[in-house]
């Protein structure tokens, strides 16, 4: 097989999985409670630094990562109670207040000077392996595995467990869900906690690939928005399709046109898809009504 083609295939898959993992938390919260958590990027960055600080305090990486996920999940629930609940239902205010929280978190770390090369998380597994003649490090394969496992796990959770079904019921028809005894605030708080915990998972898995840079917070939000808008909401298949398209498009252009062109593809892909399919690639008509 052509080396370039193989590398496009492998790294396209890896970068798709990266996008998927980054967007998962945002998309889940949005799909389940209708809250666009613009603090997603802030929470992502916060998780990275929390894990780093816990490791400085002497915890092994796995323990630090696990604790981070729990802590950030609790923070997400708090975020709902303190910030979102007073303005629930006013879409504009929800967006603005979570956006403010996200920016505050990110800029706080910038102000505190968390900008040097010291801030990096260790890879969980060292070394690399050859697939189709392309060398990939284990960490990147781990990303693919975790992204897949989480996506499938969440699908099963929202389709087969009682809590998951309650959450989906709330997102489909709030009044009916209320009448069968599902509490709206409880469901939304849970979805925020889950989404934030997923942002933390993404952070501890993705950030070891490089240093923790402040702007990765904004990048994470941007990726989440792109994938979510592109794929269509509450549609797991749509999210996978969205991240595959973006991931492969970025890798393809990066490999064949020029390494720096990949980023430009985001813009093109979003505009083109939304022009022809405003509901996203696999969005349903109910979402179409909400969007258009």
């Amino acid at each position: 097989m052509d080396g370039l083609l193989a590398s496009t295939l492998v790294y396209g898959l890896v970068s798709s999985a990266t996008l998927l993992l980054t967007a998962l938390g945002f998309s889940l919260t949005f799909g389940l409670s209708g809250v666009a958590n613009f603090a997603h990027g802030g929470l992502y960055l916060l998780s990275g630094f929390t894990a780093w600080m816990l490791m400085k305090a002497g915890l092994p990486f796995l323990a630090a990562a696990g604790l981070t996920v729990v802590l950030v999940g609790v923070l997400g629930a708090l975020l709902y109670r303190v910030v979102i609940m007073p303005v629930r239902g006013i879409v504009l205010a929800e967006v603005i207040s979570t956006f403010a929280v996200g920016v505050a978190i990110i800029e706080f770390f910038r102000w505190k000077g968390f900008t040097t090369y010291d801030y990096a998380l260790p890879e969980l597994v060292e070394g690399s392996v050859e697939i189709l003649g392309v060398s990939v490090d284990w960490q990147r394969l781990l990303i693919v595995g975790i992204a897949l496992a989480l996506t499938l796990g969440l699908w099963a959770f929202t389709h087969w467990t009682k809590i998951g079904l309650a959450l989906r019921g709330m997102s489909q028809d709030e009044y009916t869900a209320l009448s069968v005894g599902i509490e709206s605030d409880w469901a939304a708080m849970l979805s925020l906690a889950l989404g934030s915990a997923l942002a933390a998972v993404a952070a501890v898995v993705l950030l070891p690939l490089g240093i923790i840079s402040i702007n990765s917070g904004y990048d994470a939000l941007l990726v989440a928005l792109a994938v979510t808008v592109l794929g269509g909401l509450e549609s797991t298949a749509g999210m996978i399709a969205g991240s595959l398209i973006l991931g492969f498009a970025v890798t393809l252009t990066g490999n064949y046109v020029g390494p720096r062109w990949g980023e430009v593809v985001y813009l093109g892909a979003i505009v083109v898809v939304l022009t022809f399919r405003p509901s996203g690639l696999l969005g349903s008509s109910k979402q179409l009504e909400e969007r258009v």
Partner: protein, 347 residues
Amino acid sequence: MSGVPQGFRRERVDRGVAVRARDVFALSSNRDLAWLLLPRVVPLVLLLAFPLLGSRISGYGQTVMLNTLVVSLLALSWDLLASAGLVSLGQAFFFGLGGYVAGWLNARLGLPPALTIPIATVAGAAISTALLFPLLRLRGIYFGMITFALPLLLMRVVETTGVLGGTEGLSGLTPLPNRTLELYLVTIAALVTLLAFRRLATSDYGLLFQAIRDNDRAVIASGFDLQRRKAQVVFLAALPAAFAGAFVTHRYQFVGMPAFAMDYSTLPLTSAVIGGPGSFFGAMVGAFILVPLSELLREFGSLRVVVYSAMLLVFTIGLPEGLFRFAARKWTQLERLVPIEEAARER
């Protein structure tokens, strides 16, 4: 009643009339008129007189004033979009496009600022409307998402493709002749925008924009072309923002990737929220509070961003009507002393 001199009584400025008609007062005297004119005329006179102070104000003070007015323009633009239900998280998009058009016209074609600024205002607004047009079908939160992403993505396009000077930007552009002219240009632009948007909001044409915000289905059902109306409001709102971009480009004699920076999105948004969305005056009041404040905090680096994010949060949750409406209400509820006529007659 304590504190009230003999022969006087307290009376509220709006004397209970405002309970029935929100803004209409029975104007019985010049004094009543003065109470209403004072808060309108004083800021106007101060604004117009500021450039005349010339060198009595330090260069730094003038810079802060210019920045404030530029943010006011962007905040007014945000407010018009929001009044049509289009919540923009990326005012930098309009700002940057206006700036780049002016910069390109000046650097490549050599046009003077007297031409580039008007052309960039209109062309920048037209280009941003054209770019946003396919995305206008999105509403609510989705529009916010996409406007947040657009300036950041355009910044990357400029960075990676190297068009329009790439990371270097376009520099050495023609400066504006002098500071007084700069100040007047942007002051008048802000006032014209403010009054024009106020006028627009109450006209039949502008009411339709509010209808889009409140119930766009009803607008379609009434036989209006929703897409076209949305494009029109985006164009109108983009005008002052593109002007601000073109103006800043010539002022700094440079346009580059910073024109798409987040600051130009968050500052106007925060200004409009602090002042209170929907009144246009509020957007300006917010800018006049926020920008000087952020200048005071400049030495703390990005802590000031944290501070205004916190303000954004506090005002969104705690005072959603904004400072302007709050202050306006309190002003008409002030109590003044008036002589008691009967008492005066008996004496």
